[in-house]
């Protein structure tokens, strides 16, 4: 891998739409950069803001939240809740002095593999442009959120 900055992205997907979109991107062999690592939730409504901060605190440079298009939620309307929480998280991040652009909300239906891939790619580029996020290295906010039992150093790759 090149010595240029490679961001680490955590992506939260909804079991019904965006996770299927990721599957579809796979079956269609649509390429995107390997920087993203996905976590499957049942619904974007399950996304507890703590997860996002936790991810950033633990070394993620950006977090992508994905769900069904408004009006297409498998659970009727829970993705709207995700939307509201997303706005909240952006404001909170700003409060922490972190670029809100480090989190992105993406709607992707089960049919939108290509869209999912391109959104991932563009988000990775955006975060790459923002540069690394050194949360936890030198600021106090993190301590509140990282009582991580595992230290990265423990695991030499």
């Amino acid at each position: 891998m090149t010595n240029s900055f490679e961001p680490t992205i955590i992506g939260f997907t909804c079991n019904w739409c965006s996770y299927r979109a990721a599957d579809l991107a796979g079956t269609a062999r649509i390429k995107y950069p390997p920087n993203v690592r996905l976590i499957r939730l049942m619904c974007s409504g399950r996304l507890d803001p703590t997860f996002v901060f936790k991810a950033l605190a633990n070394g993620a440079d950006g977090v992508m939240i994905t769900g069904c298009h408004p009006g297409e939620c498998h659970y009727i309307e829970q993705n709207y809740k995700a939307l509201r929480r997303f706005q909240l998280m952006r404001r909170t991040l700003q409060g922490f002095g972190i670029e809100p652009a480090r989190i992105r909300l993406v709607w992707a239906s089960a049919a939108e593999g290509a869209r999912f891939a391109s959104e991932v790619s563009s988000f990775i580029e955006e975060v790459r442009a923002l540069g690394p996020l050194h949360w936890g290295k030198n600021d106090n906010v993190s301590s509140a959120l990282t009582e991580a039992p595992i230290k990265k150093e423990e695991v030499p790759a």
Binding site: M1, I39, P49, N58, G71, P149, K152, V155
Partner: protein
């Protein structure tokens, strides 16, 4: 029905014994991810996270692969399993069953998708391998905090709802009803039969559509196990697999169906003629009180309130006056029915592409340009011309006819897919029109797609009959002559691509083989039933190859053209297949569900009620007396919104607990992309 936790193992107590199994999937994964290295790494580096064994194998999903896991569970006493392979949507069941066979709680098995999410989408082998490791480490952390779960079982209500009374829906309904279970068949139009009832002949055998369809329609109408609800629409669907509550609007027919004998006198006497845009495809007329066609099932008319003189002026009432059984009820109101069903089959069919969208073909501008559906009616002995194939003047028989394929299909400006039936349909028209009129027939095609049994043979036959085939997508149909011979004709301008020259072919009649489109309201319907649509607007099946019948929503199945363009045999097959799936469910009487449910830990609940407004399924109730919230697992669908919202962390979501996801985040981030050294 509950998701009872087995309390004896508290999550991540350091006593986890985890097995990691990395699948090559032939070269699908191994071609990009260094699986050997990954397994080796997991064994060494994740030891202290409880990994006792890590193996790679060509095909984990093969029986040998599964035995491998079962053996390790038994011999090494594994109590957690990670399978790094394809998407859980494909093989989760497989590996859970394997675990269960070895006596391990199936929910202690977790899949990591290193095919769909790694090897198929990445090319940089080093980076892909690194990502695979990170994802496995995430999986390991997550599974450590997983607790054994007992699958919830739900009883399956043996009654089934079939939506759509076309050939696919009819087939489904009959299969299930014949097996002795009750079916509600809901149809929007006044009669069942769908598009097939409008056709004259069916390819490739050319047997008469009505002759083969009407017996089926009749047995639906008379079947003791089928409640037929025509002129009705589904408005709301609540509940879940095995236990849906469906709200159906039975539109007022303005006819007392009990009293009506279907004698048809009302239609005779009704003075109001209306263009029949549905059954006669706009070519013929019907009355304001009508049954769409003679063999209609049920044989009960409908009063068309938008056109009936009585509703306009308050006078006329001819039908009421002449009805021998006094069955006309002008003030009849819509009825709302609530029915309980265990499974639902959607067979809502298709719509014809609106040929007006291609003005260069002249439909709507040039009278003698017809659509395929119009020709079906025109050739049908029961049609507006009694089967006489004539121009729109109603008398002239065409001497030359041009049939244009792929109208609105295989065209990025309209529908970028092949509508499947148009080639065969066009060949059928070529045969019928030639047979009845002796006219010279041209077929303009891009490619002849005559796949499937006896189809190409039919193509051969039509060739024999002297049909002239021109390979080229027609550019335009014009009424502007350039030569004497073109005067008074429709001129089809096309490049004969096999000759490499532009040709202008004068004909009397043009037939547009218009493509198939999803119904306008498909997306609303999908929303009502909680399923989704493809980019082109067809219902999405659970798996394009292995499960083209189920949907991602348990208990909802799809059949016929609603899932994608297909011909009659395919629709019938899919209708029957959907029925078979439902029957097996019914026979099992109950089914296991993902025990993914939320539950409240009462002692932690502060009674703040923040969660109370969040549940769209009304699963959350607040107990004023104890000042605590409770979640009804029967109603809970497991979305987890309330779990995320609870400020006290008093709500836990099984299978997706905070601990699990927090742990997975940590696991995923133990290795940074750029910290990963390039693999040798």
């Amino acid at each position: 029905m509950t998701a009872n936790l087995i309390e004896n193992t508290s999550p991540a107590d350091g006593r986890e014994r985890i097995g990691v199994y990395v699948c090559h999937c032939g070269t699908n994964i191994a071609g990009v991810v260094d699986v050997v290295q990954v397994a080796d790494w997991a064994a060494k580096q994740l030891k202290h996270r409880g990994v006792v064994i890590a193996r790679e194998y060509k095909f984990m999903c093969s029986s040998l692969g599964q035995e491998l896991i079962e053996k390790d569970i038994k011999e090494l006493g594994l109590n957690r399993v990670i399978v790094a392979a394809c998407s859980p949507h494909l093989h989760e069941k497989t590996f859970r069953t394997a675990c269960a066979n070895a006596g391990l709680n199936p929910f202690l098995c977790e899949m990591v998708s290193i095919r769909e999410q790694v090897s198929w989408v990445h090319t940089d082998k080093a980076a892909a391998t690194a990502k695979a490791k990170a994802m496995i480490s995430g999986g390991v952390e997550r599974v450590r905090h997983q607790v054994p779960l007992e699958p919830m079982t739900v009883p399956i209500d043996p009654t089934t709802l079939v939506v759509g009374g076309g050939i696919a829906g009819i087939q489904s309904a009959l299969e299930i009803a014949d097996a002795g279970f009750h079916v509600y068949l809901v149809e929007r139009e006044p009669s069942i039969g769908g598009h097939m009832a409008q056709f004259d002949k069916t390819f490739p055998t050319l047997d008469c559509s009505a002759c083969i369809l009407t017996p089926k329609m009749f047995s639906v109408g008379s079947h003791p196990n089928i409640t037929l609800l025509t002129w009705s629409e589904v408005e709301k669907v609540e509940g879940y697999v095995g236990n849906f509550t469906v709200t159906i609007r039975k539109k007022a027919r303005k006819i007392d169906e009990e009293l009506c004998t279907g004698c048809g006198i009302c239609q005779e006497k009704c003075p109001k003629k209306v263009i029949d845009n549905v059954y006669e495809a706009g070519l013929g007329y019907r009355k304001a009180v009508y049954t769409p066609f003679p063999q209609a099932i049920p044989n009960r008319p409908v009063v068309d309130v938008d056109n009936c003189t009585y509703y306009e002026k308050g006078t006329c009432k001819a039908c009421e006056i002449f009805c021998p059984t006094k069955a006309i009820v002008f003030d009849q109101q819509d009825k709302i029915l609530n029915v309980k069903v265990g499974n639902i089959i959607l067979a809502t069919g298709y719509e014809l592409f609106d040929a007006r969208r291609m003005p260069n073909y002249g439909y709507g501008r040039l009278p003698n340009v017809f659509t395929s559906l119009e020709i079906e009616r025109l050739t049908n002995a029961a049609g507006p011309t009694n089967g006489n194939i004539v121009l729109r003047d109603g008398k002239t028989t065409p001497k030359a006819v041009g049939i244009i394929h792929c109208v609105g299909s295989r065209d990025k400006n309209f529908n970028n897919y092949c509508s499947v039936i148009c080639c065969m349909q066009s060949l059928k028209f070529a045969h019928i029109i030639h047979e009845r009129t002796g006219a010279t027939i041209y077929n303009f095609y891009i490619d002849i797609r005559a796949a499937f049994k006896d189809y190409d043979e039919f193509y051969q036959r039509v060739l024999e009959e002297g049909t002239l085939f021109v390979r080229g997508k027609v550019a335009e149909v014009s009424d502007v002559p350039r030569t004497e011979s073109e005067k008074g004709k429709l001129i089809i301008q096309v490049e004969d691509t096999l000759v490499g020259k532009q040709r202008r072919i004068p004909v009397d009649m043009v037939v547009l083989s218009a493509g198939l489109e999803p119904r306008k309201d498909t997306r609303e319907v999908a929303k009502t039933f909680g399923i989704s649509c493809s980019v082109n607007g067809w219902f999405i099946e659970k798996h394009p190859k292995l499960d083209p019948i189920a949907t991602m929503t348990e208990g909802i199945f799809i059949a016929g053209c609603a899932q994608g363009p297909k011909d009659i045999p395919a629709s019938v097959a899919q209708g029957a297949a959907a029925a078979a799936r439902v029957l097996s469910r019914i026979e099992q009487k109950q089914m296991a569900l993902e025990p993914v449910r939320a539950s409240v830990i009462e002692e932690k609940c502060s009674g703040c009620r923040i969660c109370n407004g969040l549940c769209p399924f009304n699963a959350i109730t607040f107990h004023e007396d104890r000042m605590v919230t409770e979640i009804n697992p029967a109603l809970c669908q497991g979305c987890g919104t309330c779990v995320a919202a609870c400020p006290a962390g008093a709500i836990t979501g099984t299978g997706f607990s905070n601990d699990q996801i927090m742990a997975q985040i940590e696991g995923l981030l133990m290795l940074n992309v750029d910290q990963e050294p390039v693999a040798a």
